[in-house]
Symmetry: D2
Subunit: 298 residues, 4 copies
């Protein structure tokens, strides 16, 4: 009974590319974490140790640095598309290149000085083949919290259910969201930065403005709002840990008048609920391999 | 233009279940990180905020604890199968339950005393539907290193290629591997622990005994050896960072006779190569949803 | 030859206290990580297993939650002082209580909605005895970067020195800074929040405005500026990793006209320089135990 | 009102040195994380940006690599002493060099093949001046657990105390321990590896063999046993998080006969108790600066 090579891919992960634009005294910074992946006919490397078709991951890293200059980093999507196309061209055995980028935001504190903003990390995943290009934009670790307007009740119960119904609870998550563009830069000029800024604003305002009967409902509203706001998006995917904040029980404390009216909570680490969902435009074009190899649900 | 709910799932992630077996003065410990996921018809929760069909993630957590007693934890696979079946039964809207378990190993230092072993973490992922059950066993963060018998040369070059060919380098990885069983406990009694121990031994000995012309070749050999050794396995999947160890260049140091003959290396953090591949038995039965929702390549 | 108990302390670390102020429809949030420590005569617990003098760490945790309501969290310093005094009172064997707080910042996105800001974490360490109280304010993980106006040259050389002199480099750090107040709330009302905001502004503007011949010089300027700006501060301590950004060498790439004029860098992880220094006001009052047990240099 | 430079130090942190000994077909590996620190008269760098006295941290890194060959790594203590002495010699302005080493253990799986062991990390901190040398050996992240023979009762109570007394609980910690040697290699040949192995064995056996009325008592016993076992040790310091394992309450579950007799626990992340203590030999020689700059309590 024999066996064979199945699906495979390879690349360089987490190349930390920092691009400074210093054409004027007011410098700009683009701070990226870049991962590249090639897929194609690399069986000889696996089966026979033959590297003739393999563009080294070290070269992929070099190319990531060089393209930060040659192409520039107007947006992570734009840079990733250029880099993916280059890698596909440079490696004949590859039938597909995927580039994943995380971009860290910095706030300006001087003409050439910056403080890292923290908060959510902007992401882009592009997947390019000879005849297709897919772009996913997104955000990771976007930590959101509503102090009220969240309930959870009317749920299914069994003999292990001890959870009390909640009329008013904290709702918090560290959101991962990705949305698929129907257009790439092939057809028309997409303003990736404007699209991202608008998407983030939509997610935040919808989270803030939605009464929540479950995190599921909130996510669905956020996804729908995003699709409603931007015609160029085909679908949205969310992975959302329910970061539990438990009301601290003050009743055992022997202090007169000490009550906890939704005021003091313990922020728990583990376990956490994990809600994952997609919202899809009815006439969305096929996703192809847009999501292939993207870690996690989205 | 309207939109709809796409694929979705929910559950409780990273419930830290510690099971002590104290039937005799020589205690046993099972130290688990358990994540449960339900898939099915939960649209009402997303679209209308209606939880009637939703078994709370808090209940799933309670069940994970209760089943550590009611069913016990002979192996992570066995426990996960029992827990997944229970959750599927308890939640009529669910068509599938997936349970993921990480098991941390402890070494005995007394009848009721242990020291955590560290090293690779044993994993199990089971996916259960009304008519199917899939079991993936695996190991995470298994850090392996060969000090020699590894080369990398003959690779494709382009104008960005600067990598020198290497005749003798360190090969190191922090392996994630998962392998799919063709049998579950439905058909016959599987000794999950014996299978895991044998699989780990096969992976280690093949890594140690294989001359490597690329990490790809080493992985392929490991996967093949695992399938050869255990008839009950259908396929193996690997995600293997190439943990680069760069030879330190001593030539600029002005010290007579100081050379570096493959003796002193810097262990790099980022970037790293990332090699991912599957090895599949030729007559492997279909995987169904066995790999659905498993984060990363494998 | 015998031995004895030396210095010792105990407490509850990393209690995650979230305080919501909901007196009006516009809610406020204080998100804290609180660690409490007691020092005193607890020898019986160590030597004889006698807990009669030991206020349990579980009680300390409960008190941290209760005081978020009873006292409130106007500032981390103010809250920490109240909590430390309470713990000292509640535990007669204690001669000193130290409370350490990290406060995570959130930006408002609605009346009861927030997005976590990320970036630097505000810190406070208070140490309270029967007759003294010390307050350290600070910030952790404040990631700062200058794209120019930084050099490093004229340094000592030996036979292992290979570093080239740099006329123009990136200077970046993930700063930990703490500053000691000469006043506590005993003497007069200190506006801890105003002091912190001003201190952060001074640190940022001095970092941005200082030409740097070494990270040491930049830190010294930042410390001096902080003492100059606020009379109530006795000293400043810094722990500053030199987060290296290395210029990528484009010269081996065979691309016409491709140069790297300070534009593309690799952000390195490890190793990193680590510069640690204090700046002290000439007439600073004694620090007492203000810094005792504070992890790291500062 | 003026200010001045206070205490300061600088160096290179976390240089990842991997040393392969390949004098025979059976290779050896030493896997180190090395941090170097210099203290002395470096005021000119801070105050005036003058680097003439500053041995660059890059040079310190180079020296760490070179000494892995020139001196070798028989033990982390031995290597650190040699490296510290070299740095002190190479930098006239320095009055003291401190070298901190973490050593990761690997298990052999072939003549030139290894699997990383995980578990506790061996540490060494040496502090060398012109006329003194101090050596601290230790272990970090040594995760220990007793399933029984641990109680906690008879403690002080106040109005916030809700903790129930425990007759039989899990006791677990992730120990950091360091012990100070009275001898360095100046006086006689110390077998650092034999001492470390014996110390680890003493810590494990004492943890396993001690009935615990509090983590404090267990630590005290471990420290005492270590001093009793090795004449060359002056003191031991511990930092020990109390990794809480809470018994899961099965009483609300509506399952006949389901009880939890100390069998199922939830392993909590935060908060955690934190017990820190020293055990000191009665006639211990002064510690000098042995502990200066060591992060945390020990």
């Amino acid at each position: 009974m024999t066996h064979h090579l199945g699906a495979n891919q390879y690349g360089k992960a987490e190349t930390r590319v920092v691009r400074i634009v210093r054409d004027s005294p007011v410098h700009e910074i683009r701070d990226l974490n870049v991962s590249t992946t090639l897929r194609g006919d690399f069986a000889a490397a696996h089966v026979a140790g033959d590297q003739a078709a393999v563009l080294p991951t070290d070269t992929q890293k070099n190319t990531a640095f060089a393209y930060a200059k040659l192409h520039g980093v107007d947006s992570p999507e734009d840079y990733a598309l250029a880099l993916a196309r280059r890698l596909l061209d440079a490696c004949p055995a590859a039938r597909q290149a995927q580039v994943r980028v995380e971009q860290y935001a910095w706030d300006r504190i001087g003409d050439h000085s910056f403080v890292r903003r923290g908060g959510g990390v902007r992401t882009a995943v592009v997947t390019v083949g000879p005849d297709e290009a897919h772009v996913l934009s997104g955000v990771e670790d976007l930590v959101l919290l509503n102090t009220t307007d969240s309930e959870f009740k009317g749920f299914l119960r069994d003999e292990f259910t001890t959870l009390a119904e909640a009329d008013d609870r904290i709702l918090a998550t560290a959101l991962v969201a990705r949305w698929r563009h129907t257009t790439t830069d092939a057809g028309r000029e997409t303003d990736w930065n404007a699209s991202y800024d608008a998407a983030l604003a939509t997610l935040l305002s919808t989270f803030a403005g939605t009464y929540s009967r479950a995190l599921q409902e909130t996510l669905h509203a956020m996804g729908g709002a995003l699709l409603d706001a931007q015609d160029g998006l085909a679908e949205v995917r969310f992975s959302a840990p329910n970061k539990h904040h438990f009301l601290v029980d003050f009743s055992p404390f022997r202090v007169d008048g000490l009550t906890n009216e939704g005021e003091v909570f313990v922020a728990a680490d583990r376990p956490y609920g994990l809600i994952e969902a997609q919202v899809v435009r009815d006439d969305a074009p096929p996703a192809g391999d847009a999501w292939l190899g993207v870690p996690g649900f989205c």
